[in-house]
Symmetry: C2
Subunit: 160 residues, 2 copies
């Protein structure tokens, strides 16, 4: 099975707090959207956001906000996966979003950790090549209903 | 060639102002991102946004902001295309985003009108079925460089 996929588990709470602090202090849009990390454990990363700052002119979820929070979720999980690496940067390379239902209340997103062998391969490549990609799926739900699915391709690289 | 594809052209300035006002007054995120319509003519719709409110923790364009502004551009063009229809709603159904380069300055997006026959088919279907879809491409550039491409599937429907 390779190395433990979740090195952060020594302190997931501290890691989640550090990521949340970075978002709050340095990414104005996340603060404005009211996005917060509500869960980080061995299953994955869960975010939540209130509807009010993320509405469109109809009073339902603005597609741009939903896309943004879903993208941030995959990005956040990739940050978690690379949190043991110094001077690492994470970017989204490509994503496909399918909007399934109207968001009419506060919403959540969830990105599960991939299988351990996928994580191992990603980390090995990052260690050897100083850059690596990983594919992640994010689901956005509101009131228990699936409203948006994101398939994303995230990249990490070390240094400039 | 069918009907004139751009009924708004009797007053593109007034239409652009109306759309901008709706965004400013009723979509909090667009105001926060500083998105503004800079051009609406027979070629298409061009938006601009400043980098400052849209940065990530590295000081470059936040993927969520870029996705949001690009989505809004296709959505805006679909609003233009349906501006002659009463009680019409526009939503994004699906999108594919390819992030090509880091955004390091203020950025623009552009969505061209599709061919006249595509517009005619979209409008005919909307008139007959009260719902229709259209595929649009959006490009996001910064300093003349292509940074993000969006292929989106937008839907319009009349009534509830």
């Amino acid at each position: 099975m390779g190395a433990a996929p979740y090195p952060f588990l020594e302190s997931p709470t501290a890691l989640a707090e550090r990521i949340q602090r970075t978002w709050d202090e340095r990414i104005p849009l996340t603060r404005h959207m009211g996005v917060r990390i509500v869960e980080l454990d061995e299953r994955g990363l869960r975010l939540a956001a209130p509807l009010a700052p993320n509405v469109n002119h109809m009073g339902t979820g603005f597609g741009g906000s939903l896309a943004s929070v879903a993208t941030l979720t995959g990005w956040g999980l990739t940050q978690v996966l690379t949190s043991h690496v110094e001077d690492v940067h994470v970017v989204v390379r490509e994503s496909r979003l399918r909007y399934r239902a109207t968001v009419t209340e506060d919403f959540e997103t969830f990105c599960a950790f991939p299988a351990a062998e996928v994580i191992d391969a990603f980390r090995d490549q990052l260690a050897q090549k100083h850059r690596a990609r990983i594919q992640l799926q994010v689901s956005l739900t509101a009131g228990g209903r699936s409203c948006l699915a994101l398939d994303g391709d995230f990249a990490a690289f070390v240094g400039d």
